[in-house]
């Protein structure tokens, strides 16, 4: 791959890769490091990939593997029980528009990693269920199942954020009728 082609690949993919990394990791610095490391691996090994159309999947798969490799050596977070999430619970939907991006990202990070990775890939909107299955190296049925449960968990987390003060986007109050303009 020429230098120009590589730059174009970075241009196209570094932001979505960073967003994916940010949802997985604990800090912006770690996410940036994961993103950089993924491109370094591409620069050293990516030429082995014969089908250049699979570059995007290769990058996301590599980043995810790199993340898992690092996490393997760390203390795991306590797992969230699946029973916590009721798939059919759609009666109370959080008002996502009332939350800022930081609160949504935080809620996503609080979802257990097994559900968080497919959720983020899904919400990045660049990936079909087939591509998510390829990136995470799991069957399509597992992707559907994890997305279904992951969304339920995310809704729960968002509802708890909605109740918390300071996370809402507050719009400026419009001036009252009859108020003079000085």
């Amino acid at each position: 791959m020429s230098e120009n082609d590589f730059e174009q690949l970075v241009d196209r993919q570094y932001t979505p890769l960073f967003r994916f990394a940010l949802s997985l990791s604990r800090s912006e610095a770690e996410a940036a490091d994961l993103t950089q490391q993924t491109f370094f691996l591409w620069a050293s090994k990516g030429h082995q990939l014969r089908d250049s159309s699979k570059a995007k999947s290769w990058l996301f798969t590599t980043l995810y593997r790199e993340f898992l490799g690092r996490r393997r050596h760390e203390v795991r977070f306590p797992k969230i029980e699946l029973d916590d999430a009721r798939e059919d619970e759609m009666s109370i939907l959080p008002n996502v528009n009332a939350l800022d991006s930081g609160a949504v990202l935080q809620a996503l990070r609080e979802v257990e990693e097994a559900f968080r990775a497919p959720l983020t890939l899904f919400y990045l909107e660049q990936f079909s269920y087939q591509e998510i299955a390829d990136v995470l190296e799991v069957p399509i049925g597992t992707v559907m199942s994890r997305l279904s449960r992951g969304k339920a968990l995310l809704r729960q987390r968002l509802l708890s954020k909605e109740d918390a003060p300071g996370n809402k986007v507050v719009s400026f109050q419009s001036k009252k009728k009859g108020e003079s303009h000085g």
């Binding site: 967003r19 993103t35 620069a43 050596h73 959080p94 991006s101 990045l124 559907m144």
Partner: protein
């Protein structure tokens, strides 16, 4: 198809409609059209998903990330090119030496570094250039060895005596062809760094071959490799083999 099955399938339906023509969704979408309750659920679900996607879309990468990636890869490419050049230069020097019948120090073998050693030097270079971070940090080498053992990573049974006296900076682990490798970085008294790379030996035959200390100079890197028990060690520093020998005594 019942509503539960339809919901299961539609959970992967992207909110921007990219999947509208995918035949796998056709039956579930038909079900949505037939059932007002399901239609209401689907509408709310798509709106929820679209709102989340929109929130994630506004997250920007750090402003310097793009440049750092390109600059970092350029440095790596130059480094690899230099390594290639160094390899050719070493090979040419060795051929010339052989032709002239020169004597090479008995512990030096004119062999290239193995793949895991090359990757270890890349990992170390990346740490030195602050392009990657340590997995664990401590100025006490014993603490790092304990951390490595606790994380099932290769770790020295006993650190070489001369390293044991140095302060450590941190350790990192990586995998080479599925084989775990660990690195501990130490601060030398002269201000430089020295790195101990550890991995398990894959086979008894390799252990026999690796019995002696092999000193190899590769570009700016001097390396010493030896085997002890079931472990293979490589000591590396940016400098000369003479500097490295002082840590092997």
């Amino acid at each position: 198809m019942d509503n539960r099955e339809a919901k299961f399938i539609l959970s992967v339906y992207r909110p921007d409609g990219q999947d509208a023509s995918d035949r796998r969704f056709a039956e579930a979408l038909n079900q949505v059209r037939r059932d007002p309750m399901l239609e209401r659920w689907f509408g709310a679900s798509v709106a929820f998903d679209a709102a989340i996607a929109e929130k994630l879309r506004v997250i920007e990468a750090p402003p310097d990330l793009h440049e750092n990636i390109l600059a970092g890869v350029k440095v790596s490419r130059v480094s690899r090119w230099k390594n290639q050049l160094a390899k050719w230069a070493i090979a040419a020097a060795l051929i010339l030496s052989a032709a002239l019948g020169s004597l090479i120090w008995h512990n030096t073998r004119p062999a290239p570094l193995a793949g895991w050693q090359t990757q270890a030097l890349d990992v170390i270079s990346s740490l030195v250039r602050n392009e990657s971070s340590f997995d664990a940090q401590s100025n006490q080498p014993d603490e790092l060895v304990t951390w490595l053992r606790a994380n099932d990573a290769p770790a020295a049974q006993k650190l070489p005596d001369n390293l044991d006296k140095l302060s450590s900076l941190g350790c990192k682990t990586f995998s080479w062809n599925g084989i775990p490798v660990s690195v501990i970085c130490f601060a030398r008294p002269d201000g430089g760094l020295i790195h101990l790379v550890m991995r398990t030996s894959p086979a008894a035959s390799d252990r026999i071959r690796e019995a002696e200390v092999k000193l190899i100079q590769r570009g700016e890197w001097a390396t010493a490799t030896w085997c002890e028990g079931e472990m293979i060690y490589m000591l590396a520093l940016e400098g000369s083999r003479d500097q490295l020998r002082s840590y092997l005594l």
